[in-house]
């Protein structure tokens, strides 16, 4: 009797997940839980949750160009840093509020991304990866020698009560930044879901990823679509960059333009599962927690680096579709065994 009941319960749960509106309800419940979360957390854990939201959003923004469009952007972190610096320059030099500064940064990065995207998106594969990487490094070195970015001294943000530009908020605090990141992060996820999983645009993007020439021959304007995805993903990275910079109040080119920022986004998207909505969310939370809590639990602040390295290698070797692939049942024990056997055959060197 009881087993029968359990079976029906499981079937019902499965049926719920298979419904067409399941993503909507999942999203709504998650949004509700995350909205009330700060009331249950102390400052330390609010900060952790805030950082996780930031990285989930960033990983999702990389996933748009890297996972859905298949263009390996190794310079995505540049927009995170440029967004941070433009917001800061607007606030300190022009004296505008944070909201206006962030808008200016988004507009600036849209223009920049378009200008960079037009020539670089003509390149493919490794060339695109190298070009974007070189672009990001050049931007970082430029920020280190320019005066307007504070050069090697970095830049400090105004933090007064009027600096947010939102009259009902006042002086920014942890809770304000939590909700800011929540809105940005959930907005990014909802936008990505609607654009890439529910609209015709998404199918066009995936067609380009899977076979650009074939997609083009079917009448898809690959050039235009690639540029749109690139600009969109870069603007989102810039928004997070500006928001994060205002939160940490002091920025330095070596921090907000570090290659590690791009690297983390790629790793998060890959570990979770490329080209899926859930991937960057799962990967982002996993890597962020491993990174942030490593000194707490591992007793060493650098030990997480080799661990992440091993994790990346293991994922690529045995579960290329990431955690989402494992959850969907695409990667099982048999696949790992097959992979190991094929790997063993490649050691035939004598």
């Amino acid at each position: 009797m009881s087993t029968e009941n359990e079976a029906t319960v499981r079937d019902r749960i499965q049926a719920i997940f298979e419904r067409d509106d399941a993503p909507f309800w999942l999203f709504a419940i998650a949004a509700l839980v995350l909205t009330v979360l700060p009331f249950a957390l102390d400052t330390f854990w609010t900060r952790i949750a805030l950082g996780a939201l930031l990285w989930v959003g960033l990983a999702q923004s990389w996933n748009m160009i890297g996972g859905y469009a298949g263009y390996l952007d190794f310079g995505h972190g540049a927009y995170f840093g440029v967004g941070a610096f433009v917001t800061g320059i607007a606030m300190t030099e022009l004296g505008v509020s944070f909201v206006v500064g962030l808008t200016i940064a988004a507009a600036f990065c849209a223009v920049l991304a378009y200008a960079v995207g037009v020539p670089t998106l003509r390149l493919s594969g490794a060339y695109f990866a190298i070009a974007t990487w070189a672009f990001a490094e050049a931007i970082k070195e430029l920020a280190l020698i320019l005066d307007i970015t504070g050069g090697n001294y970095g830049m400090t943000f105004p933090t007064g009560p009027e600096s947010t530009g939102l009259p009902f908020v006042g002086a920014p605090n942890e809770t304000f930044f939590y909700y800011l990141m929540l809105v940005l992060s959930l907005g990014t996820i909802a936008l990505a879901y609607w654009l890439f999983e529910r609209s015709e645009f998404g199918f066009r993007v995936k067609a380009i990823r899977d076979h650009e020439d074939a997609a083009q021959s079917l009448g898809i304007d690959a050039t235009q679509i690639k540029r749109r995805v690139y600009v969109l993903s870069c603007v989102i990275a810039a928004l997070f960059g500006g928001a994060n910079a205002y939160y940490i109040t002091f920025i330095h080119p070596n921090d907000v333009l570090a290659p590690l920022i791009t690297d983390q986004m790629i790793i998060m998207a890959l570990l979770g599962g490329l080209g899926t909505i859930g991937g960057p969310i799962i990967g982002g939370v996993m890597i962020f927690l491993l990174n942030r809590l490593s000194s707490l639990f591992l007793g060493s602040s650098t030990l997480y680096l080799p661990l992440i390295g091993l994790l990346i290698m293991a994922t690529v070797l045995f579960a290329p579709s990431g955690v989402v692939g494992i959850l969907r049942g695409e990667v099982g024990r048999d696949d790992v065994k097959r992979n190991l056997r094929e790997l063993g055959e490649k050691f035939d060197i004598l």
Partner: protein, 296 residues
């Protein structure tokens, strides 16, 4: 105003630097040509080579030069063991094999850098040498450190030896055949797994050897790798992806750009100049400075 002496000095220094960059670039270009992967771990092999020098040299009586052959053999074996993994992730039914190769070597680089950082700490160490601590005085131009001159000579010699292997021996022919067409080479009876492993082993050994010399000139530190990964990318883009002889030119250009910009524009502009140059070059001439590489 511009002193000719300074100009000649910095040009010679640039040429000397270029010699050692060639060692790093040539293996990297080969690995791209044969294995069709962009190896993000290249700078970490340089770092490991330099670290091997810093740790092993004191045991061998404080002479860093003795470490050179050891580093080559050890990292040849490391490379032979690592290559099958890379080959595995770039073949088969995986989506986006290029990304998988890039990310796998990126994971390897993170693992290597993180391990050295965790085990040895963030401090830099010196690679000692007694034999080559003097300078060579060229009348009218200036004094050049012996170690730089020897390093440049060794760089050129290792390139010549490598080219000999590649163009005059059976193994080298097999490697070039794989670079030409992997499937047809396999049908002709070339043991692809074996020669790919050897190619990667030679590359890892050569790069680590270059690392020992770089450690002798500068110092060994866990964070130094990234810079040399950047240099290696710079060199293959400049040479044209897949075009080996171009590496000599691009290594020398890299040395000259580095030496001249740091003298005339200041040390902090060097990287901006380099990356700006790669970026522009990829957009204007993706087939490389000499126009002989593959086009995107």
């Amino acid at each position: 105003m511009v002193s000719t002496e300074l100009l000649v000095q910095s040009i010679i220094n640039g040429l000397l630097l270029g010699g050692i960059y060639v060692t790093v670039g040539v293996g990297f270009a080969l690995v791209f040509g044969v294995l069709e992967i962009i190896d993000f771990a290249v700078g970490e092999y340089v770092m490991l080579g330099a670290f091997t020098g810093a740790i092993v040299a004191p045991i061998l009586g404080g002479e860093g030069l003795f470490v050179v052959p050891i580093a080559f053999v050890v990292f040849f074996l490391v490379g032979v063991a690592v290559q099958p993994f890379i080959h595995h992730v770039t073949t088969g039914d995986r989506p986006m094999p290029l990304l998988m190769g890039l990310v796998f070597t990126f994971g390897l680089a993170t693992f290597l850098r993180g391990s050295v950082l965790t085990i040895f700490g963030p401090n830099t160490r010196n690679v000692p040498t007694k034999a080559l601590s003097g300078g060579i005085d060229v009348t009218g131009i200036g004094v050049f450190p012996e170690i730089r001159v020897v390093t440049a000579i060794v760089g050129v010699l290792s390139l010549v030896a490598f080219m000999y292997y590649l163009y005059r021996t059976t193994g080298g022919t097999a490697i070039r055949a794989i670079a030409e067409d992997r499937d047809i080479a396999g049908l002709m009876g070339v043991n692809i797994n074996r020669y790919q492993s050897i190619a990667y082993g030679v590359y890892a050994g050569l790069t680590a050897t270059g690392g020992v010399f770089i450690g002798l000139i500068y110092a060994a530190g866990p964070g130094m790798g990234l810079q040399y990964t950047a240099f290696a990318f710079f060199m293959i883009v400049l040479a044209g992806l897949g075009y080996l002889p171009g590496i000599i030119v691009s290594g020398v250009v890299l040395g000259l750009v580095q030496s001249l910009t740091s003298i005339y524009l200041g040390g902090d502009v060097v990287f901006f100049a380099l990356f700006g140059l790669i970026y522009l070059l990829l957009l204007v001439r993706p087939e490389g400075l000499l126009g002989k590489g593959e086009v995107a």
